[in-house]
């Protein structure tokens, strides 16, 4: 029973982890909380739904969703955030702007796609697997594995590639990076593209897992994903994964031992406790904030 609930929590945690890395990526470079990430996640899911409805097939839907959502992330940066940065606007201005963007996206989805819950095809269905006496569904296992692979790829991009090096350099000191010949603007745009892609991957996987898509799916999941990012130390990618799993397991155990009404409350209590002991999160670097 306990093991089963912990595994359920880990699976749920991967959902949060997928969303959390999107927050972490942008925060790592820009020190900006991209509060529109939840809505962008819902946008990704709806793009996939659109492609599925057009009968382009699942792989095409996946690619279409990733491209469209990546472009949306990029567009958001180019059109709204880049001009604000150019004018040296305070960080709070950018934060309010992205909250605004979040509502614009959500309402646009509501206008174009209706506000009801819509069914989404199941991604994986090849029976259940038994591990240590616990039955796991194929959807759970595949989601866990794909999320894991995706997060590893993301880590490799950030840590091993040239563009990743540029991203890290811009994070350390954007002025110096600029002087060294790194086009920081391009790096930032790429980061937003990457974070949009993350949102799309998360959107498609989560929709397939729960077999449904709806406009407000990003609100609750976005907040939990954000908590997971903070818990793991925002700006640290593997921290997001651990953070997501901690939040997920806390929720599953709360439901198991206290009942479904305690789900969110307990998740946030755990968040507070961790932050009380380690204010910068589990893997966060100290004095990270130099706003």
């Amino acid at each position: 029973m306990l093991l089963e609930q912990i595994l359920n929590g880990v699976m749920l945690g991967m959902v949060y982890a997928l969303i959390a890395v999107g927050y972490s990526l942008v925060f790592g470079i820009l020190r900006l909380l991209n509060m529109a990430h939840g809505s962008i996640f819902a946008f990704g899911a709806h793009m996939a739904l659109f492609a599925v409805a057009m009968q382009w097939g699942m792989p095409a839907a996946f690619v279409f969703s990733i491209l469209m959502t990546g472009l949306l992330g990029m567009a958001m940066d180019r059109v709204i955030l880049a001009p604000l940065r150019a004018k040296n606007a305070p960080n709070i201005t950018c934060l309010i702007s992205v909250i605004g963007v979040s509502y614009i996206i959500q309402n646009m989805l509501m206008i174009c796609f209706d506000s009801t819950k819509k069914t989404f095809p199941k991604l994986f269905d090849f029976g259940n697997v038994e591990i240590f006496g616990v039955t796991l569904t194929s959807a759970q296992i595949m989601m866990f594995l794909i999320a894991l692979v995706f997060l590893v790829i993301l880590t490799i991009i950030v840590n091993k590639t040239k563009i990743g090096l540029a991203m890290r350099a811009s994070r350390e000191n954007s002025k110096a990076a600029n002087l060294m010949g790194i086009d920081v603007k391009k790096v930032v745009t790429f980061t937003f593209f990457l974070s949009g892609m993350c949102a799309a991957v998360a959107g498609v996987l989560v929709s397939g897992y729960y077999q449904m898509v709806y406009c407000t799916m990003g609100t609750d999941a976005g907040l939990k994903g954000f908590s997971a990012a903070v818990l793991g130390g925002i700006g640290v990618l593997y921290g997001s994964v651990v953070g997501g799993i901690v939040v997920g397991v806390a929720e599953a155990l709360a439901v198991a031992f206290l009942g479904g009404s305690f789900r969110s409350a307990i998740a946030y209590v755990v968040l507070f406790l961790v932050l009380l002991i380690r204010p910068s999160g589990l893997f966060g670097k100290d004095n990270i904030d130099k706003v």
Partner: protein
């Protein structure tokens, strides 16, 4: 370049706000119209005999999770109004339906209720979806003496708000009895329940526990686990594991289809044999679409079934299908009957005055599409239910299983 893109963005945002603005304006203008006609009515007076249209208000969620319920209930109310208008209206006047969106939120419902009672052209109110939301708004209607008939609230205390509040839906006590009769029929011993943690969900859980406490020896089933969940939950895996641990054989869920469908899907993945018993909230095509093949085998009790041979039901189902594109749900049918109840009350009193409608509603007595429509002293309409099962994505009636609560009590309680 930067300025240009900024300009472009601002234009886009403005264009967007104009577009969305249009949608709102439509309903605003109908409200404004309603408002201006009320002023006319005040000045010309002779309210009853004037040839002004009679205005009824429909309130329900048109956006949000429960939008499908609200939209289908509104369609049903409109069908009833159109039928009367085709016959020449009521007491020689045409009928007009104005609609409001409360998004099934108590806050919005309260402010809409204030708006409605302040608009003297509105004679009576239909709708509100959830019990809690309807009860918040109900206080406002009761205070100003305008009648509300609801077609979907099941909380035991809903109609107790006052003499202006009526409802045409099975109350939770009836639902609990229906559910336990179904469990007997399925031959299950261990029952679990899952309900949303809100007014309605807590009330139905209590109703079931009360029923078992009073008549427990009359039922073969036993409640082993009663679970509540937060509104908006989509991940039920932890709850499912809990039910499996408790070894339940059948689960009852009273929540809306948008929460019940993912619950069933996540349960079915782990357990193919468990049985699901739902409330009438899951008697809707959208439920089958959302739950897919996992909906097969689900059983539920409802006061309305569109495949009945009754010509009135056939005619209503056909009109609804034309207007809405799917078969009517229980709630839609109950709102259709509720609309007729108001219009009959206006006809009986030969008056569309708010007070006269309230006075005449308790004498309602006609055969509707959801059974005989009469109201008891509290304002509840007793409902008889039939058992439906979902087979291959279709609702199929299983006749002669369910008894009305009165019959059941007569048979079991000596």
């Amino acid at each position: 370049m930067k300025k240009k893109s900024m300009c472009l963005l601002l234009t886009l945002v403005m264009a967007a706000s104009i577009l969305t603005g249009c949608g709102d304006k439509k309903s605003e203008s109908t409200q404004a119209e309603a408002g201006s006609s009320s002023k006319d009515a005040d000045t010309t007076q002779a309210a009853d005999n004037s040839k002004e249209d009679i205005t009824l208000a429909f309130v329900g969620p048109q956006t949000g999770d429960n939008a499908e319920y609200g939209k289908s209930m509104k369609t049903a109310a409109q069908i009833a109004v159109d039928e009367w208008n085709e016959k020449g209206g009521v007491i020689g006047r045409k009928i007009k339906l104005v609609d409001f969106d409360d998004a099934n939120s108590s806050e919005q419902a309260a402010s809409i209720a204030e708006k409605i009672v302040g608009d003297s052209s509105i004679s009576a109110v239909l709708g509100h979806f959830s019990s809690g939301v309807g009860m918040t708004a109900g206080e406002v209607y009761q205070e100003s003496g305008i009648a509300l008939i609801n077609g979907s609230a099941a909380h035991m205390d809903f109609a107790k708000v006052g003499d202006c509040i009526f409802r045409n839906n099975a109350i939770y006590t009836t639902d609990a009895n229906t559910m336990l009769q179904i469990m007997d029929y399925l031959g299950v011993k261990k029952i679990g329940t899952i309900n949303p943690n809100n007014d309605a969900g807590v009330a139905v859980t209590t109703a079931i526990q009360d029923m078992l406490e009073r008549y427990g020896d009359q039922y073969s089933g036993e409640l082993v686990l009663a679970e509540l969940y937060e509104d908006g939950t989509v991940d039920f895996t932890a709850t499912v594991a809990k039910f499996q641990q408790a070894g339940v054989e059948a689960i009852y869920s009273s929540g809306p289809y948008s929460a019940t469908a993912p619950f069933i899907q996540q349960y079915r993945e782990k357990d193919k044999d468990v049985k699901f018993v739902m409330s009438a909230a899951c008697f809707s095509q959208e439920f089958i679409e959302l739950a897919g093949k996992d909906a097969n085998g689900v059983v539920l009790g409802t006061s309305f079934f569109y495949e009945s041979e009754d010509p009135a039901i056939q005619s209503f189902a056909k009109k609804f299908e034309e207007a809405y594109g799917s078969n009517p749900s229980t709630f839609a049918a109950q709102v259709y009957d509720a609309t007729n109840a108001i219009l009959y009350a206006i006809e009986a009193g030969n008056s569309a005055e708010r007070a006269d409608i309230v006075k005449n509603l308790p004498n309602t007595d006609f055969q509707g599409v959801t059974g005989k429509i009469t109201f008891d002293e509290e304002g509840n309409c007793l409902k008889e239910q039939v058992l439906l099962e979902i087979e291959d994505g279709k609702y199929v009636e299983i006749p002669d299983v369910l008894k009305s609560q009165a019959d059941w009590e007569a048979e079991h309680i000596k």
